[in-house]
């Protein structure tokens, strides 16, 4: 304790620079020369030349304009183009200004931060207010918010911009990942450690492009990130806790409160009636069960409540637990006619609940408490084996002056945000421009987008990466500027070496766009879409499974864009899962592309596809030319017209023809 005090004093006397352990320093010193930790070097670009054409000349001939425009629309909006008029450049500007642009980028960002609308694990509860972060992300990309600001808001919006609701919502970044919430005996320290693991991974993978999870357990031989670095980063978060903060003003909150009361009043008679039906059977269960209870429990129940000792109270509580039936035990006792009545009442209850008023607006955010917990290095990551205590700090290999960063628990995240957003930070700009490049080109300049460390891939073109990174900083972290530079390059506009398949979200959204059923409404609470009975069956619950997936009253809500569809960690929608939608359990920098038979089955036989094909055929009135125009953005060839006629002659229906178009490689693969 004395030593700790002394070292704290030293730190403050020396101007806030914590002492560096010479052993640690020796371990990372050699690694400092690694390319990713060096400041980017900007090469000169000859006047009048597109910088990317100079640095990464196209290898293949240009793609023809019509196809290029289709590729552009799918990349920027996630859907085929509606309007292809004007020049490529004009279309580019139009699409960048479209709100669809932010939705497309939003999904990309949400993949990275493994956003979902539920906690995950067995209970997998929905997070009432999480969606505001999703909308914040989409808004930010649409507004072309400087990335520097975007970063600072997410890391420390609460500390840096007190009172700013938008910035508070942004801190939902820290909570986007899964969280294990369960009852029973809890190891609080283990739970806290799990939260910290999630947070540490999130910030290192997303912004620093460093995989720090190896360092959780040990110092890696080749990796410059030390185990102590990992826990220093955790210490930055030592005073950070999860909290929902009300952002609704008084009037709004009062209105929400009154709406809730009205709703509950509407429910009450039905709930009471159900209770009345169940009451005798709950009592019957109790009567039948009582004699089977262990003697000690029977005895304790006979003692008058007020006379029970503490131990007897505990036993009585346990006895009561055993005597309260589960839903299925009650239902099993109810005779058929009453059972039917009860089912009808429950149905009515669920119907009323479809109009359940939204609670007053809250930010799903983090909060800084006054007292930071102590942070230790943990032996092999085990919270039961604490090694030395560490102070908040940044990876030694990247360390610069931190000021008094480590001392005050309030403001550590702000320190981290400012360090990340510093133009001198060698990683952040590189990591982000590499993501833009990968998003548009299909492959990163550094192929391991979340790992710029020594175990990751080397850049295929360091000059290009560095030029883009410096340009990004110079432009004031202007995302659209970098995007535009890439999209106007010959490298982007050349013919594909390997065509990219639509990802699951592009696929669903494009189908909806082509069929005409897409509901373009933006934002708000996540929406449920119909699920197959087989999927309904695998939703885990110990409660009565009669209302696990209520569909919205307004059916057009089910045709919203995929980014607004309820993303439940344990209930994956087959159509999306089959096309490699990420599982939202870890950061996904790049979607996988697998090809397998179940995709074909879903694309041919699911109710969704049948419905879409029917709507699509209805929209074209069976007109082959119109169908091709909508799905593929071009007129059918003579051979294709003949093919359509032949199909029809053989008895093929218009719906089937339209279904086939949506299954076509030309539709599903970007040009």
């Amino acid at each position: 304790m004395k030593r700790l005090l002394v070292s704290l004093l030293c730190v403050s006397l020396l101007g806030g620079e914590p002492r560096v352990d010479p052993k640690e320093e020796a371990l990372v010193a050699k690694r400092r020369s690694y390319w990713a930790f060096q400041a980017p070097v900007r090469v000169e670009i000859p006047a009048g030349v597109h910088p990317i054409d100079h640095l990464e000349p196209a290898k293949r001939p240009p793609l023809e304009l019509a196809k290029l425009k289709r590729r552009l629309a799918l990349d920027l909006t996630g859907m085929p183009p509606k309007d292809v008029s004007g020049s490529y450049e004009a279309m580019l500007e139009r699409l960048m200004a479209s709100p669809r642009y932010g939705e497309r980028w939003g999904q990309k960002w949400l993949d990275l931060v493994r956003y979902a609308d539920t906690n995950g694990y067995e209970l997998d509860a929905e997070r009432e207010h999480a969606w505001r972060y999703r909308d914040y992300v989409i808004r930010s990309f649409n507004a072309n918010k400087p990335f520097q600001q975007f970063l600072r808001e997410q890391i420390a919006g609460d500390e840096l911009f007190p009172g700013d609701k938008e910035a508070l919502v942004a801190t939902g970044f820290w909570r986007a990942g899964p969280r294990h919430v369960v009852g029973g005996n809890q190891d609080e320290e283990q739970n806290r450690q799990e939260d910290l693991i999630e947070m540490t991974h999130a910030v290192s993978a997303t912004f620093m492009g460093l995989t720090m999870n190896c360092a959780r357990c040990h110092n890696h031989k080749f990796d410059p990130i030390l185990q102590a670095d990992y826990y220093r980063l955790q210490a930055i978060l030592a005073a950070t806790e999860f909290r929902e903060v009300q952002i609704a003003d008084g009037e709004e909150a009062q209105a929400a409160d009154e709406a809730r009361k009205r709703h509950e009043a509407k429910l009450k008679p039905i709930v009471d009636e159900i209770k009345a039906i169940e009451k005798p059977y709950r009592e019957q269960f109790r009567r039948d069960k009582l004699p089977t209870l262990d003697q000690q429990f029977r005895e304790v129940l006979e003692i008058a409540k007020e006379k029970r000792t503490e131990e007897q109270k505990r036993l009585a509580k346990e006895a009561e637990r055993q005597l309260s039936p589960t839903w299925d035990e009650v239902v099993a006792l109810i005779p058929p006619e009453l059972k039917a009545k009860r089912a009808g009442l429950r149905k009515r209850m669920h119907e009323i609940n479809l109009d359940e008023p939204a609670p007053p607006a809250h930010a799903y955010s983090v909060f800084t408490v006054d007292e930071a917990r102590k942070t230790h290095v943990l032996k092999v990551g085990d919270h039961k084996h604490k090694l030395q205590e560490v102070e908040a700090g940044l990876p030694l290999v990247l360390k610069r002056d931190l000021g008094d960063f480590a001392l005050d628990p309030r403001g550590r995240r702000a320190g981290l945000a400012n360090w990340l957003a510093d133009p001198e930070n060698p990683l952040v700009a590189r990591v982000f421009v590499n993501r833009v490049w990968q998003f548009r080109m299909g492959q990163g300049i550094v192929k391991t987008m979340n790992d710029f460390g020594t175990l990751g891939a080397r850049p295929s073109n360091l000059k290009l990466l560095d030029w883009l990174a410096t340009e990004f900083v110079r432009s004031g972290y202007n995302v659209k500027h970098i995007d535009r530079l890439i999209l106007t390059s010959k490298a982007y506009q050349q013919q594909a070496e390997r065509r990219r398949r639509m990802d699951s979200d592009q696929l669903r959204d494009s189908i909806l766009a082509v069929s005409g059923m897409l509901n373009p409404k933006m934002g708000g609470r996540p929406v449920k879409t119909p699920i197959e009975p087989e999927i309904y069956d695998i939703i885990f619950t110990e409660a009565e499974p009669d209302n696990l997936w209520p569909l919205p009253k307004d059916r057009s809500e089910m045709y919203r864009r995929t980014v607004y569809v309820l993303n439940r960690r344990t209930v994956r929608l087959p159509m999306l899962a089959n096309f490699d939608q990420p599982d939202t359990m870890s950061s996904c920098p790049e979607r996988a592309t697998s090809t397998h038979a179940l995709q074909g089955l879903t694309m041919l036989n699911s109710e969704f596809m049948q419905e879409q094909a029917k709507a699509f055929a209805g929209r074209t009135g069976g007109d082959v030319a119109k169908a091709n125009e909508l799905a593929l953005g071009r007129a059918p060839s003579e051979a294709e017209k003949r093919q359509a006629r032949e199909f029809s002659k053989k008895g093929g229906t218009a719906e089937d023809y339209h279904l086939a178009l949506l299954n076509r490689n030309e539709f599903i693969y970007l040009p």
Partner: protein
């Protein structure tokens, strides 16, 4: 390797131009996906008992428990971690008698008279442990190696490593309890960051065993074939033969079409002779469901499916092995549902010569405590519990590992889930260290930083 060669011939025979490329592509994938050394088992059937059966009431007799019934656990045992209790409740003797069976003389309780007949083919490991007292995390650890969600399941790793031995069925099928899913839910058979092709596919008895298998009502096979022909014709127009991925997409539609006839055939147990159905308890109220699923597992393995996962228990608490109270009623019920079908599966595989190449695993997320809960139940016990292996190169008729005199903790050789997984991979001819996938800068493996195959299981 035979299956690969026959695949090649089949695909070649039907191949016209694109088909050949696609076949080549699929084949390439399969050739990369091959064992690292000579395998003992080709396929796996994993029988998972949801909610956790009690070891000291099934396969790990503890006479001391009955002797000291009602007394506290000796203080020397220290603090006990359960989910709802802390070991301070009195010890609960087992309500069942144990008898010795087979040439090996292995003891089994009166709960499992049918499984008892198979002990000479079974290798019991009594000292497995998991690292959570809560169902879902412990289930994740058994299925994926970590207590956290988000890692590929064992079946996904195995199909990633070995590919499929059939074109007509998914490589990895899962049959949950019809009443509901286990706590861990879909991540128990999810592929996590591995490509979606490696996820477990739900399989259910009946005419539509696989989701979206059949065309919607009113669309007959002829009509579907016609649409499919149109799609394939269009796709050939679109596809550069050099583009193996797009070509593979053409092949995948043919496989989907084949699956439409092969999957219903595979689950059609009406053709099974009466004595076989009877053996599994099909037609008997208690055993019909689990018996059907066990028989389906055998039919899947026969047809080349690599990994079959069956759950006993899920959904309502009353259909789980989670006997926090009324252990006797609960375990009699759950054993009644499963004991005969499990034994029938082992005997049936054996009589067909399939047991040699099929690894059957029986297990759960943890066991149960020797102390009581609610007077007549038991809380969770991840500290030492029994799972067993049979077939697929396993040396039967033996017991490995042990627990203390009350069955609370493993003593001596204790086995982590990494060892469990390393053993399974080894039997399948897979080197745990070579079976990796690069994810976010890390070579992720089923056994993480490595387990030790339990050599006694197979030698």
């Amino acid at each position: 390797m035979n299956s690969f060669i026959s695949r090649r011939n089949v695909l070649r025979a039907s191949a016209q131009g694109f088909g050949a490329v696609a076949a080549e592509w699929l084949l390439q994938r399969e050739l990369q996906a091959a064992p690292h050394f000579a395998p003992k088992a080709k396929s796996v059937i994993f029988l998972f008992m949801v909610g956790a059966p009690s070891s000291m009431d099934t396969f790990d007799p503890k006479p001391a428990l009955n002797k000291y019934h009602g007394q506290p656990l000796p203080a020397s045992y220290g603090k006990v971690g359960g989910q709802f209790t802390d070991g301070s409740n009195p010890l609960l003797g087992s309500p069942w008698e144990f008898k010795r069976y087979g040439k090996s003389g292995i003891p089994v309780s009166g709960l499992m008279p049918h499984t008892a007949e198979c002990v000479d083919d079974i290798c019991f490991v009594r000292s497995f442990y998991t690292e959570s007292v809560v169902h879902a995390p412990a289930m994740y650890q058994v299925h994926t190696g970590r207590i956290l969600m988000g890692y590929p399941s064992m079946g996904s790793w195995v199909t990633y490593g070995l590919g499929n031995a059939t074109d007509n069925l998914p490589a990895y099928v899962v049959m949950p309890q019809p009443e509901g899913t286990p706590e861990g839910g879909t991540p128990c058979w999810g592929s996590a960051f591995l490509p979606a092709v490696h996820q477990g596919t739900l399989l259910r008895p009946g005419p539509t065993p696989i989701l979206h298998l059949k065309p919607p009502a009113g669309v007959g096979p002829e009509r579907q074939r016609r649409t499919l022909d149109l799609i394939q014709e269009m796709n050939r127009m679109d596809t550069n033969p050099e583009d193996s991925e797009m070509a593979a997409r053409i092949a995948s539609y043919e496989l989907a079409f084949k699956m439409q006839s092969s999957a219903p055939e595979a689950v059609d147990i009406a053709k099974e002779p009466e004595h076989i159905r009877k053996m599994y308890g099909i037609g008997e109220e208690r055993t019909n469901d689990f018996g059907t699923r066990c028989l389906l597992a055998r039919r899947m393995v026969e047809r080349g499916v690599r990994f079959v996962q069956i759950y006993s228990g899920g959904g309502p608490v009353s259909i789980q092995w989670d006997a926090h109270s009324h252990l006797k009623e609960n375990h009699e019920k759950m054993c009644g549902l499963t004991d005969q079908p499990v034994a029938a599966l082992l005997k049936d595989l054996k009589q067909r010569g399939l047991l040699d190449t099929t690894l059957v695993i029986w297990g759960s997320e943890f066991g149960r405590l020797p102390t009581s809960e609610s007077g007549n139940g038991r809380d969770h016990n991840p500290h030492g519990y029994t799972m067993w292996f049979a077939g697929g190169g396993v040396k039967g008729g033996q017991i490995i590992g042990e627990t203390d005199e009350f069955g609370l903790r493993g003593v001596g050789e204790r086995y982590h889930m990494r060892d469990f997984h390393a053993t399974i991979l080894h039997l399948l001819g897979l080197d745990q260290h070579k079976l990796w996938y690069l994810h976010n800068g890390r070579h992720e493996k089923l056994t993480d930083f490595g387990g030790t195959p339990i050599a006694k299981v197979y030698s």
